[in-house]
Amino acid sequence: MLKTFSIGGIHPAANKLSAGSAIQALPVPEVVKVPVAQHIGAPAQPVVAKGDSVKVGQLIAQSAGFVSANVHSPVSGVVDKIEDFVDGNGYRKMAIVIKVEGDEWLESIDRSADIKREITLEPADIVKKIGEMGLVGMGGATFPSHVKLSVPQGKVCDALIINGVECEPYLTSDHRLMLEKGEEILIGVSILMKALNVAKAYVGIENNKPDAIDHLTRLAASFSGITIQPLALRYPQGGEKQLIDACIGRQIPSGKLPIDVGAVVQNVGTAYAVYEAVQKNKPLIERVVCVTGKTLARPSNFLVRIGTPVEKVIEAAGGVPDDCGKVIGGGPMMGRAFTHLDVPVIKGTSGILLMSKAESQRAEPSNCIRCAKCVSVCPMGLEPFLLAKVSAKGLLDRAEAEHIMDCIECGSCSFTCPSNRPLLDYIRLGKGKVGAILRARAAAAKK
């Protein structure tokens, strides 16, 4: 029996429409808009001004604190303006707008196609390098990578887990990357192992990608300590907690982090970026974006410069279909619906999913019939029906006691509910309020 996580889970239709389409480099656009906050944590501080000339890979915004990340210019050209814009989620954010001129790269970046296997940097320097190059979690969470690699004192990491699960329906960018850049990914994994001083790494891949499993297993034979771990198909296996449970059978207790069970999790996309950063001296300036949808002309995987307008990426895949009702950044289970399309691709944009008008609408909710299916599918062992109810009623003490903060917002409950109840909407509402109470309590305790 294939390994998988212990509790709950669902089987949404995979719809991996773009799985067969090889990664193509998208032409560099005329203008890019590069937000200074593409990661979790403090926004980076711009270090260029209007009118400055920049090259590809040049630092344009400096990390502002420990949990923050550098931002580099993805193009060469002139800084046109630095201004606020409304991002895809409707928030105002600062961005550096660059008019593209040519494609001139910093000379320090190794652009050759040669694969460089030998790891010369020492662990501390690797972590420093990864920080300098502005790496963040590429799966969508965008947590600064160097922070994850800085194991706190007193904690020991003994297993590196690499997330090649891509359990979100539709998305195929990680799948293609594993097929096309397998060796680079495994070198990246080795670099991460060296940085963390661990002897074992597990690359978790679901068995709906047998080609990727075969390919990486063959390659892994020449790397020491890397296990390719096939996993049974089940959503949300790509969740950090679920993946650790599936790969090494350790469950993170409530409120704890992966490092508390001795694990660090990184995405395969991040492992590839680590290879490029450490071996090729290349900052995070482009990424693979999967553009997909049932009514889209050509579902594709593109290598896209950060800051490229989402509209341009969709155009390259055949343009926005007439009956498009919703455009999602990310996958259909956890992605966010864009408020408008004049937004840039950022470090965390793993996919752009276009849904038809019919697919975009939710069905009318009806009474909860207490079928307990939401309880059965919750991968955290929570009771979504109850959390939604107490959240809606504002019973925040009860919500906290019922572990509302353990919810990973995977959406399995809403997906499953036969009454179409918007369970996760209510739970998010409750989480927001309970989270605020917890922060206030922690602040009061500090005083």
Binding site: S6, I7, P12, A13, P169, K241, D245, G249, R250, Q251, I252, P253, S254, V261, V320, C324, G325, K326, G330, P332, M333, M334, G335, A337, F338, T339, L341, L353, M355, K357, S360, Q361, R362, A363, S366, N367, C368, I369, R370, C371, A372, K373, V375, S376, C378, P379, G381, L382, E383, D406, G411, S414, F415, T416, C417, P418, S419, L424, D425, R428
Partner: protein, 329 residues
């Protein structure tokens, strides 16, 4: 430019619906219903039609004229209640008693509490118990199988559980009980009883349908039947002359119908798997106690009704296994 729909994730739905589950249970009940028609003929047909029609009609009237809300009779839940209520009645029950039963099920047990999902007791069971207490004679005169063209005029006899109870009360031993159906007849349903409870094999086919279509999980039926089997086995092994065998317990009365189709009612059963096991154990225990030591030959409906009342308590104390709560493997 198109207008974009903005909504939080998830953006897809699994396609399950209340209708799919309700009609799914109805489909799973059809093998047992077909068996009933085979053994009880016209009577079974008449009782079922009257029960289903009155449940649906009463729900419609209450929603339309009393609650003044959008009617939801198409979701299949009223029809399902009607069908299960019919399964709990003898096939010669007069039509007006059936209508009273439907009124209690839908009107009192379900709509009074706010309709689907809000009731605390299983509507069909509450109605059955109400009728059993109000019309004890009509509710316990069981037509003998094989009278295909009779309805209220059918010749009646006792159920196997009734025969057993009476004989044991008269001081006879289990082996001396006369007129008990053979094991084959028990499996097929060739015996007296409520119209839907007799067909053991057909009910088990329904169980498989429910499991395969993921309408219910195994926990409640297995807990109920397992508890009855274990308890009756202990007593049977201790004294086979005073206590009937586990097989007899499982194949007679409402054991299978109750465990598979009534105890598993979504609304009135617990939400966690551990809670479901406790609830099922309680039903099995109470059923066995009532059958063995109580005044009634059968205790399934009382047991389910009592455990329905305990469901909120079970939900409070039996939570699902939380992620990270257990020691690492």
């Amino acid at each position: 430019m198109n207008k974009l729909t903005i909504s939080p994730s998830p953006h897809v739905h699994g396609g399950d619906s209340v209708k799919r589950n309700m009609y799914g249970v109805i489909i799973a009940l059809l093998p047992a219903w077909a068996t009933s028609l085979w053994f009880f003929g016209l009577g079974a047909l008449a009782v079922t039609l009257i029960s289903v029609a009155s449940c649906v009609l009463i729900e419609f009237l209450i929603q339309k004229f009393v609650m003044k809300v959008k009617t939801t009779i198409c979701d299949g839940s009223a029809a399902l209640t009607g069908l299960i209520l019919a399964f709990n009645m003898p096939s010669n029950l007069p039509w007006w008693i059936i209508v009273i039963g439907a009124l209690v099920a839908i009107g009192v047990a379900k709509m009074t509490f706010g309709g689907l999902g809000q009731n605390i007791a299983n509507p069909a069971i509450l109605a059955r118990v109400f009728l059993l207490i109000s019309f004890p004679q009509q509710m316990t005169s069981w037509p003998k199988p094989g009278q295909l063209t009779s309805y209220a005029d059918a010749a009646t006899g006792a159920t196997p559980l009734g025969l057993m109870k009476e004989a044991l009360r008269d001081g006879k031993s289990v082996s001396e009980v006369a007129d008990l159906p053979s094991t084959t007849d028990l499996l097929l349903g060739n015996m007296g009883g409520s119209l839907g409870e007799v067909a053991a094999i057909a009910l088990l086919i329904g169980f498989v349908i429910l499991l395969v279509r993921r309408i219910i999980t195994w926990h409640i039926p297995v807990a109920v039947l397992g508890t009855i089997a274990v308890l009756s086995a202990i007593f049977y092994l201790a004294d086979p002359s005073a206590y009937p065998s586990p097989l007899f317990h499982l194949l007679t009365g409402g054991a299978l119908l109750g465990a598979i189709f009534m105890a598993t009612d979504y609304v009135t059963s617990p939400m966690s798997h551990s809670g479901m096991l406790v609830y099922g154990f309680g039903i099995g225990l109470l059923t066995f106690i009532i059958r063995t030591f109580g005044a009634y030959p059968e205790g399934m409906s009382f047991a389910i009704l009592i455990m329905n009342m305990l469901t909120p308590l079970i939900n409070t104390y039996f939570k699902p296994k939380r992620f990270g709560e257990v020691a690492t493997k």
